[in-house]
Symmetry: C2
Subunit: 247 residues, 2 copies
């Protein structure tokens, strides 16, 4: 059996997340069905690097799949890109070691959160960014972001129902920055791993800091106490992009 390591990009606007679900269309289901169609086999199971929520996007998402096929990687990629809908694309494909697993072998991930930041909405970022009409204080946001960098207990930055699933809520953030280019504010966060809704809560925390609703002291308290009330609101999914996965 071969073990293919495949990177894809997808616009998540019309999907109920990556993971296969009953009664709702997912990226996983569409990709699996296309592989089945391409190789004329029953749809195989693919293993994704991450669940993503409804409406969340991926610029680079990795999955692996065990296949009993001699199709060249280039042929797999081209064939898939012909069969997939326009909002999903295969970026690369290679043979991986037998024990490679897209989820368990990750060394880190990078997410980007896009905020259109101008008085009027940007009609070209519909479902591709969160719109925030007031001027953001990028300097204050960057200062606050630095407080989250490093190894911390991020219990305060996790949706309650996610916490129950987790053995530990300690994670390491490698870097977290805010930058604005021509009316679009880009938050970029990389780390060893992320809790449920963690990036969207971190992004919302920076917004609250910009608004003066939270201070650097509140962020320190959030990290110390694990109290969700010291962190900001969860921003909506449409601004979130899985940007890179490292192995």
């Amino acid at each position: 059996m071969r073990n293919l390591k495949v990177f894809i990009a997808y616009n998540g606007a019309d999907y109920h997340g990556f993971q296969r679900q009953d009664n709702a269309i997912s990226v996983q289901e569409v990709v699996e069905n296309c592989i089945g169609k391409l190789l004329k086999i029953p749809a195989p199971v693919i293993y994704g690097c991450s669940r993503t929520d409804t409406g969340v996007h991926a610029r680079r998402f990795c999955f692996n799949v065990h296949l009993d096929s001699r199709i060249p990687c280039e042929g797999f990629m081209k064939g898939m890109n012909t069969l997939l809908p326009p909002d999903i694309a295969v970026l690369s494909c290679e043979d991986a070691p037998e024990d490679f697993h897209a989820r368990y072998c990750t060394k880190g991930k990078e997410y980007v959160y896009l905020i259109t930041n101008a008085p009027q909405r940007d009609v070209f970022f519909q479902k591709l960014a969160y719109h925030y009409p007031y001027e953001l204080d990028i300097e204050k946001m960057n200062e606050a972001a630095q407080l989250l960098v490093g190894e911390h207990d991020f219990a305060a930055f996790c949706r309650a129902e996610g916490k129950a699933r987790m053995k530990s809520t300690v994670r390491e953030i490698y870097s977290f920055t805010a930058e604005r280019k021509e009316g679009v504010c880009e938050l970029r966060i990389s780390g060893s791993g992320f809790l449920y809704n963690m990036v969207r809560i971190c992004a919302g925390t920076l917004i609250y800091v910009s608004e003066g609703k939270l201070t650097p002291d509140d962020i320190k308290k959030a990290l110390e106490t694990g109290d969700r009330n010291y962190a900001g609101k969860t921003l909506p999914p449409e601004g979130l992009y899985l940007n890179e996965v490292w192995y």
Copy 2:
């Protein structure tokens, strides 16, 4: 009667162009109906700066409308942005002189044509760019673009059915450049006015030059003879943006 001068942006993916049509949804119809709803009057006629084809976008499009209303410009803008669908937005609104007409008073326009230029399609530019998978020769394209700058007879760069409508096919191009940033090639063309499909044919001509299917000599011949065969193909509408209108 007031004469309002209004700038809007729209994502044209789901519209059959700007101009009102029977049996097909247009930007004009949606905007007119929203004005009627906002002011509780029958939908008034708005005068757009340009027709745009099905699927073509506008970053800045101007229209004027005669209104018997005392609504402040700020209130008009905010009210409209509440009523309009997410793919149309009012950017600005001001009172204009009685004789201002968005179409007849233009001094020039700028268009941008976006080409996603990477082996795989870009899932975030679906209906927002033309995808061209082979490497473009930006230098050759810029050299060819310069031949079109200036006052010329652009008969060869006009769709046949457009020519019949026109008194003259002479236009002045102020500037025409090609630039590539991170997998997206942006063609930018400004001029006194444009013939039917002219920007899309000029863009297609640069693609043919990059491919070696047309030479600089062919472009000179196209301008001299008016023969459509010396120009390139018409690129699809989804890459085209009306970027600015000057008065």
